[in-house]
């Protein structure tokens, strides 16, 4: 009789323990098991309105990577990031769970890119304190409405508005959902089927407070998700995947004031992600909400897009000095040496060399360095 039916299970358990022990030891102490990728700059040069960088890339396992050069008008700092998360308020059209997941994913994506700023969830009270102090920070509001303690309800009055003065002073607001200012919510309210029709919402007047009424097409709430298919130039440079355009900024208005950095599509043409300057600050406008986990426009990929936007320094880039980018595919153990260059205008303070793996890469490699233009000193 074959021994199939009388396996010695004790031997199996001993084998498993040895395997687990060996595997953990190897995972902790042996570098062979891991991917190893390096990016090093050999030399760089600012010459005749041109910045060029010569570098070497190496990966022990297959790597897909992009090398981007982003000219900026000021050196980005590690601003603190606050995510508005207060389940005492209704999240209109989305859920607090998704917003919490967005925060969790952002806490992974930013440190991977050596971003040193904190990512903190804040309540409406904490948001009020932050805005009233006009603290320079990045605030993410993904719940589709301002809480009433920071933005007016019923009648617009500048006295009740803490958001616009904060933006004017240099704050950066990352916004998801319906147009900013359109809805305002109170503590303890519950979203009902007719909640959006309540008289408390400022609607177009609220959007006008930010001067966005020409930039976003204001229309009734749509259930159907509208997606864009074509990547904008900067969207391609940064590998931005968010593609919802229900309330995305109109391309025509962005051509005058603003930057399309996401996907483009729709009629009239809109951008899924855009940067709109307001005073000294900016609104980074996403075309709609964060959707469910692991789907396109979900918290994982949206957090990746936010991290790409914040870390790449694209917030401080200008239209007349667009970034440049080159993609590389390395086989395991391959080394590549190459040169990339970007044109810069006189208003540019420096150039960021930003290296990141594409979504399909199984090997992680991030690199960030700011090179100051000598003449700008």
């Amino acid at each position: 009789m074959v021994k199939i039916a009388s396996l010695n299970w004790r031997h199996l358990i001993i084998f498993m323990i040895i395997y687990v022990l060996g595997s953990q030891t190897v995972l902790y102490f042996s570098p062979i098991i891991y991917t190893n990728a390096k990016f090093s700059i050999n030399n760089y040069e600012f010459k005749n309105e041109l910045f060029s960088v010569n570098f070497t890339l190496y990966a022990s396992m297959p790597l897909d990577v992009k090398v981007a050069l982003i000219p900026v008008i000021e050196e980005p700092t590690n601003l603190p990031i606050y995510i508005f998360y207060d389940p005492n308020y209704p999240a209109l059209g989305t859920s607090w769970e998704k917003i919490h997941m967005l925060g969790t994913n952002l806490r992974r994506e930013l440190p991977l890119r050596s971003f040193k700023g904190d990512v903190t969830l804040i309540t409406a009270e904490e948001l009020e304190k932050l805005l009233s102090k006009k603290e320079k920070a990045i605030v993410i509001i993904a719940s589709g409405a301002f809480p009433a303690n920071v933005f007016p309800a019923y009648n617009y009055s500048r006295d009740n508005d803490l958001v616009k003065p904060w933006l004017d002073a240099g704050g950066i607001l990352i916004w998801f959902g319906r147009p900013p200012g359109y809805y305002t919510v109170y503590k303890g309210q519950i979203e009902t089927p007719h909640f959006c029709e309540l008289p408390q919402h400022l609607r177009v007047d609220g959007v006008k407070a930010f001067g966005l009424e020409e930039i976003i097409e204001i229309k009734p709430y749509e259930r159907v998700l509208k997606t864009a298919e074509k990547s904008s130039y900067i969207g391609e440079v940064l590998d931005i995947n968010y593609n919802l355009i229900n309330y995305g900024a109109l391309n025509d208005s962005l051509s005058e004031n603003g930057l399309a950095i996401g996907m483009m599509g729709g009629n009239p043409p809109r951008s899924s992600v855009s940067i709109i300057p307001i005073g000294k600050g900016k609104i980074i406008l996403f075309g709609f909400f964060v959707l469910g986990s692991y789907i396109l426009n979900g918290p994982e990929l949206s957090a990746r897009d936010i991290a790409q936007i914040i870390r790449s320094g694209v917030i401080y880039s200008t239209k007349d000095s667009p970034p440049t980018c080159k993609e590389y595919h390395l086989l395991g153990g391959q080394t590549i040496t190459d040169k990339v260059e970007v044109k810069i205008k006189s208003n540019i303070k420096g150039v960021i060399v930003y290296v990141y793996p594409t979504l399909s890469s199984t090997c992680l490699l991030y690199f960030y360095k700011f090179y100051e233009e000598p003449l700008s000193k």
Partner: protein, 479 residues
């Protein structure tokens, strides 16, 4: 005089001997009563491996593995909510594959987005069939081992070879088993294997090995650790009747075994604990499933129950107290030793049932796999447990397909073969997802409630059968 054979002849002779030996083993294997079912079952599994997957979970697993290989632990980067064993098993294999230059592809496919937004469970991120096969190889090994363990366990318990074969077939050809491991890609088969192996060692009175087995299971998903609590109590009670010293020694052996795997993976276990307490607990909600919360598949009822989630969560902390029920009943009912293997199986089922009803907020279909092997083994002793086994298998299989239709498992087939197209799958899923229901907004919600209720009925029936059997044994034991 000894005549020496030339070297080439010796080699030929050895080769011939080895061939004969292989032939002998092969012939023996083919004559084994499990050969035919094994062969058919393996072919079926290999066919399902590359092209079927539950998209949502595999992305989470892929990201976890991917970060481990890039020298991050999966918990500090918030990519896994499962204990570490699956990564400890899988990562060295995947690293080896990458080191030899085999490239794994994982990419965003925006064309799946239409269906993804309809159900919010279909991801837009897919891996190539090679990754799916690699991911399922450990599941296949544990599935095979579990089949053999069921066969051996049953044979030992009943001394009947045909009953053992029947038990093996019930496992190996159970559609629920095939769907869970090879279409869904869930690793609950590893939990089921270590749990049953732990019980097998327990019955053989090898308490240290039993503990290790439960410990390894608990490092895959936490449930075996939780079931080990009442089992520990039962071991203590069993020996405390004769000698307290022996009782302490035996429970210590079991406990030591339980802890050893966790000690080996201690740094990851600590990070896992920290992540669960800081991140996951904030995201808990009841969404329906295969226990008493089945009705929460209806969004209105879900809202009602989740608005009281923090009160409900306090009840879950009572689990250690509730897990004492089997221990106390063991102490009360059994004054002297009886059919210890049978009683152990009954108490383990009771412990799992308490776990299903108290702990998981949403009992997902794959969780039922933890109890299925025990039900198969006990069925060979008591036929009525076949009802529980059948109800759980049918309810869980049907629930899998009800969530977002069977098409949801087929995206790799559409993306990497020409057998069907993504558009066809999208249309089928969107049509299914938007079909109106009878008492909920959508049919899929109705179906989830129906099959969830069916499984809940299975839990009630199992509890009834266990309590009936235990009280019968208790009565028989009275003088």
């Amino acid at each position: 005089m000894i005549k020496q054979m030339p070297l080439s002849q010796t080699a030929n002779h050895l080769e011939h001997k080895a061939c004969m030996r292989m032939r002998h083993i092969f012939l023996k294997l083919t004559r084994h009563e499990l050969f035919a079912p094994l062969l058919i079952g393996i072919i079926l599994r290999l066919a399902l491996m590359p092209f079927f997957i539950w998209p949502h979970d595999i992305v989470a697993q892929y990201y976890s593995v991917f970060y481990v290989l890039n020298h991050y632990d999966p918990y500090s980067v918030f990519v896994s909510m499962y204990p570490p064993l699956i990564y400890v098993i899988f990562c060295p294999l995947l690293s080896l594959i990458s080191q030899v230059g085999i490239e794994l592809k994982f990419d965003v496919f925006p064309e799946t987005f239409e269906a993804a937004t309809a159900t919010e469970l279909i991801t837009s991120i897919y891996s190539d069939p090679l990754f799916l096969v690699l991911w399922k190889i450990p599941l296949f090994i544990f599935d095979l081992l579990l089949g053999i363990l069921i066969y051996q366990f049953t044979k030992k318990l009943t001394l009947n070879s045909s009953k053992a074969k029947k038990a093996f077939i019930l496992w190996f050809f159970n559609p629920f088993v095939l769907i869970t491991s090879y279409m869904h890609g869930a690793f609950d088969v590893i939990v089921a294997f270590f749990t049953l192996l732990g019980l097998y060692f327990l019955i053989e009175k090898k308490y240290f090995f039993s503990g290790i087995s439960f410990g390894l299971g608990g490092l895959t998903k936490l449930s075996p650790f939780l079931v080990a609590i009442p089992i520990l109590g039962i071991i203590f009670m069993k020996y405390a009747k004769s000698s307290l010293k022996e009782a302490f020694l035996t429970t210590f052996k079991f406990l030591a075994g339980c802890i050893i795997p966790a000690i080996i993976c201690l740094p990851w276990c600590i990070n896992y604990y920290n992540m669960v307490t800081t991140v996951t607990l904030n995201e808990l909600s009841i969404k329906g499933g295969l226990n008493q919360w089945f009705f929460a598949a209806n969004p209105n009822l879900r809202y009602g129950i989740n608005s009281n989630i923090h009160i409900l969560m306090k009840v879950f902390y009572l689990y250690p107290l509730l897990s004492l029920i089997p221990v106390i009943s063991y102490h009360k009912i059994f004054k002297e030793s009886h059919d210890f293997p049978y009683i152990t199986l009954l108490f383990s089922i009771l412990s799992f049932e308490i776990l299903y009803l108290v702990l998981p907020l949403t009992a997902q279909p794959q969780y039922l796999m933890w109890i299925i092997p025990i039900l198969i083994v006990i069925y060979t002793k008591k036929k009525s447990f076949l009802y529980s086994f059948t109800i759980f298998s049918l309810a869980a299989s049907a629930f899998f397909f009800s969530i977002q239709s069977p098409y949801a498992f087929m995206y790799p087939l559409a993306l990497f073969t020409s057998l069907c197209t993504v558009e066809q799958l999208n249309t089928s899923i969107v049509n299914y997802a938007s079909r109106p229901g009878f008492f909920s907004l959508y049919l899929r919600e109705d179906l989830c409630i129906i099959f969830g209720a069916f499984a809940f009925l299975g839990h009630l029936m199992t509890l009834y059968l266990v309590i009936k059997e235990l009280s019968k044994i208790g009565k028989d034991s009275k003088p």
